[in-house]
């Protein structure tokens, strides 16, 4: 099989003149240089994972165009690059996060967290709060005039300023101080511009500068207030601890949260690798002891029934209305495609309204015609029927489109031959159309199954997993599928949103689904061989 098509090599060799190969090389080098430049920039900004992906992309593109043996990759180099970048990389990211504590409380990096905690300040008992006015020189030196609540005023220089005294009184004529306003603040100081409220507010440096004596620094903390603030925590990079300057309490780093011996924690924590904790948590969570069997069973029923119903209905339509002799088929198909054109966000909700047991139009009609009023939301079986109906409605136009396209690939002379053999329409369909069709759409059916297997949106928006299962020890409903159930576990967790935990669940789920799919591949491998050279 591998040798069957040797044409690519020979043809390629034939068509390459030395000149065009030179041009190729040149252009590839140019593309590589461009990508290389981007990669270099990414690396210099410290975006290491992305840099690695870009290096792989450069190698891929270069190899595709420069190594004749890999010339088939030319046909897909661009697509594969985008795929690597936006499909594979995010998956690796999720897998990585499955081993971290990423989630509420641990959303930021260690550097960011250290900076935030270091910036936390406190007002010591002897500390004072002041009104303030700031002055700025052309070379961005600052002065801060302050007034305490007893009316005492003075001017402070930044702690870093050298030479001059850091604090001086407001005396007209000294230190370049000009006229003094009613509040006691200088209207002008030589060499400085007084910042009005607006300029001060838009100055991004101001809040970061410490003014006055090093032991008693004053910081601007709001448009109306400056205060003698002291840093509350001191960071010790050697053992990665914080010390509370007020109480002396030491906070040790515990998996991304600085925790003291008595259990008090500093906020924020940072995201960091915590090993397999998330997997262990999932394996031991009460969620797994919950109604998992009910949910898994329903998940398979839901996915296969959804596929079966949407596929059959879509195929039925394209077969019986694909007949060129059928008049009005164009109009008909235009009507039938409508469910696919309207955002499912709204159609799911519309269905929810229509199936409302008390007020919905469906029940009002059923009531008047048959005298029944099924409770679609509270009876488990009815809820499941309802959700399958809605999903069929949402999904059949997709299969209508796909199968009517795929049916075109079945040559009509096969039918003619079959007709001569006396096959009935049904036999023709069963023996010829369906097997041939499965060749081209088989993989799509797997994909559709997988999509429905994880069809979180429908379950969540339509009924939110309900009706609830009375015997479940964890919150779960009869229409919950694995993904909606575990998302509830991960996101309604007692510690807020746990992305790391949810990622771990994703990874476990993926392994499950992948194993299933691989088995399916095994059984369906024949498709491709049948499909060749019809």
């Amino acid at each position: 099989m591998e040798n069957k098509n040797g044409s690519i090599g020979t043809v390629a060799k034939k068509s390459i003149s030395s000149l065009s190969s030179f041009i190729t090389t040149f252009i590839i080098i140019a593309v590589d240089v461009l990508l290389g430049y981007i990669t270099y920039q990414l690396a210099s900004m410290g975006y290491i994972p992305l840099t690695v992906v870009f290096i792989i992309i450069i190698l891929l593109i270069s190899a595709a165009f420069l190594i004749p043996k890999l010339s088939h990759l030319r046909w897909m180099a661009v697509g594969l690059s985008a795929w690597l970048l936006f499909s594979i990389f995010p998956i690796l990211f999720t897998i990585y996060n499955a081993f971290t504590n990423y989630g509420d409380g641990h959303l930021i990096s260690q550097t960011q967290a250290i900076e935030q905690i270091t910036n936390q300040t406190y007002l010591p008992e002897t500390g004072k709060a002041y009104e303030w006015v700031a002055y700025r020189s052309n070379d961005n030196d600052y002065l801060l005039w302050v007034k305490d609540n007893e009316g005492n005023t003075f001017i402070a220089r930044p702690v870093e300023s050298e030479g001059d005294e850091r604090i001086f009184d407001v005396v007209q004529g000294e230190n370049g101080i000009g006229e003094i306003d009613d509040d006691g603040a200088p209207v002008t100081i030589e060499g400085y511009t007084r910042l009005n409220r607006i300029l001060a507010a838009t100055d991004q440096n101001l809040t970061k500068i410490k003014f006055g004596d090093p032991e008693k620094t004053i910081q601007v903390r709001s448009p109306s207030e400056a205060a003698e603030l002291l840093p509350l925590y001191e960071y010790n990079p050697e053992d990665n601890t914080f010390t509370n300057q007020q109480t002396g309490k030491i906070y040790y780093d515990r998996e991304g949260t600085w925790t003291a011996r008595d259990g008090t924690q500093l906020i924020p924590g940072y995201n960091t690798v915590i090993g397999i904790d998330n997997f262990v948590e999932f394996a031991t969570s009460p969620g797994l002891r919950g109604p998992l069997v009910t949910i898994v069973t329903w998940n398979f029923i839901f996915a296969s029934m959804s596929l079966l119903l949407t596929f059959s209905l879509g195929l039925l339509i394209s077969v019986i209305y694909g007949d060129p002799n059928f008049k009005g088929k164009k109009l008909l198909r235009s009507f039938l495609i409508i469910p696919y054109t309207i955002p499912s966000l709204i159609t799911i909700l519309i269905w929810r309204g229509m199936l409302n047991p008390n007020l919905g139009i469906v029940n009002r009609m059923l009531e008047s015609v048959f005298g029944i009023s099924p409770d679609w939301f509270n009876v488990p079986t009815l809820a499941r029927i309802a959700i399958l109906t809605v999903n069929t409605w949402l999904g059949y136009p997709y299969w209508m489109l796909v199968t009517s396209g795929a049916l075109q690939s079945i040559p009509s002379d096969i039918y003619e031959a079959a007709e001569v053999d006396g096959a009935t329409g049904f036999q023709r369909f069963w023996r010829i159309t369906l097997p041939l069709l499965l060749v081209s759409v088989g993989p799509l059916m797997i994909a559709s199954f997988i999509f429905n297997f994880n069809n979180f949106n429908l379950i969540y928006v339509f009924i939110n997993g309900g009706p609830p299962i009375p015997t479940a020890t964890t919150t779960a409903g009869y229409t919950d599928i694995i993904i909606s159930y575990v998302y509830n576990l991960a996101f309604a967790s007692g510690r807020g949103v746990q992305y790391g935990y949810a990622s771990a669940i994703s990874v476990v789920l993926f392994i499950l689904i992948a194993a299933m799919s691989l088995i399916q591949f095994r059984f369906t491998n024949m498709w491709e061989e049948v499909g060749e050279n019809v």
Binding site: D104, A201, S222, G263, P357, P470
Partner: protein
Amino acid sequence: MKKRFILLAVILIASFVLGACAPEATPEPTEPPAEETEPPAEETEPPAEETEPTEEVVEPSASIRIWADEQRAPVLSELATDFLAEYGVELVVENISGIRDQFSVAAPAGEGPDIIILAHDQAAALVASGLVAPIDLGPKADEFVEEALNAFTYEGELYGMPYATENLGFFYNTDYVEEPPTTWDEVYSISEQLIADGTVQYGIVLAGTSYDAYPWMTSQGGYIFGTDENGDYDPTDVGVGSEGMIQFGEMALQWVEDGILSDNTDNTTAKSMFLNGDVAFFMNGPWELNNLREAGTPFAVAAFPDGGQPFMGVQGFMINAFSENILLAQAFLTEYVATQETMLKFYEVDPRVPAYVPALEAMDDPDLQAIAEAGANAQPMPAIPEMGKVWGDWGNALTFILNGEKTPEEAYTFAQEAIVAAISSDTTGMINLPGSWQSTVSDCEWDPACADTAMELGDDGLYYATFTIPAGDYEIKVAHDGGWDTNYGVDGVAGGDNITFTVEEEGEVQFIYDPETHLLEIIQD
């Protein structure tokens, strides 16, 4: 052949570059439709239009970005012109749905807006993650409703500037009911009469099984979390299975059997039943006012019977901790948003009770005033993460009761157990010292999940805890993971005998536990 590939590659790259230029080019194609909309919108258009000319005059020196929902965005956009004129700062209002989630992604990457609008219970996680900065409202702080400020205060720091509070009120149809009932007994008898008269189908309908029924639950003594001495919610005291809750459940079941209460708890259905005049009473929030008025249902709002307490949510502004314009953002909030005019505008587009006192005083909507009164005794919505584990089971309990699948006692006790288990599963990794001694330092006794007596891991791999214990004889064990499944007694034996110790004189006792040998060392001074 190769050339073709290269041609394709070039085309692809070129199309990206072209696409890349497209955003800059968008104003061109996008403007015509915008102009088309002008003629019919004579009054509404100006704000957006005015900003453009001024922009050319005042060169913005900086800009602040705000993420707001669709109700607040238009109001904030209107402030842009003035703000630009006075501060020379451009105000960019972006309309975002799912602000909390989006912000958690964008802010750590340094791409977040300067200001966001959120409800206080959603904001707690952002505070814990260090994504929002404390706010100093200065003298303006006095102009806000105290409860609203408290809701945004975490660990003694204020993290948000509130603008509105929201809570349920007791709605009644004024065609059927003249004087609002003050007890549930009255609700029952009025309903009974109205049903007998054939005026209504049911007396009352619930719009949900948890939040929406809470005022009724509290009127019977039910609660979700108890409070500690500071008035903060205590996640170890879950009240879902409390007597009051069960009593409510029995009452609701009885009322359904008597045909007074509808067995439906679907929100949409409940709303429309009240809207259509099929029920006389229902409990809902200010967000429903506009709908009810549009529908023309005659209604009024009262406080809850028997002193029922609703939950109160507070909406407010928060500042991004990674913003480069923290001071500016504060100035914008305190000077532009915290004004009677702006706060009243929020209230006009979307009726919520203002949290800003001058606006609250100017509020002239009688229904909203009634809702505010109904919320006078409201409990703040718990902003602790444990609340996330409560909703599902708590709400399902009532469903089971009304479906007849469980008795009220079963339902709420079951829910209580599930919630407590879910919350305490967060104690995985906890090493605790349950015993008789616990009562001397906490509310617990023989409780392996007691937060107050948990040990802390030291650098040496040993666990430590130190307490001041009064004189007496005590028993103690070591328990792992907040439960009794793994516990150690005398000589580090799994499930072994209780360890005893005696304190001669009140003083500090240090406990040291070695997780390798499971031995507990008790050191007294």
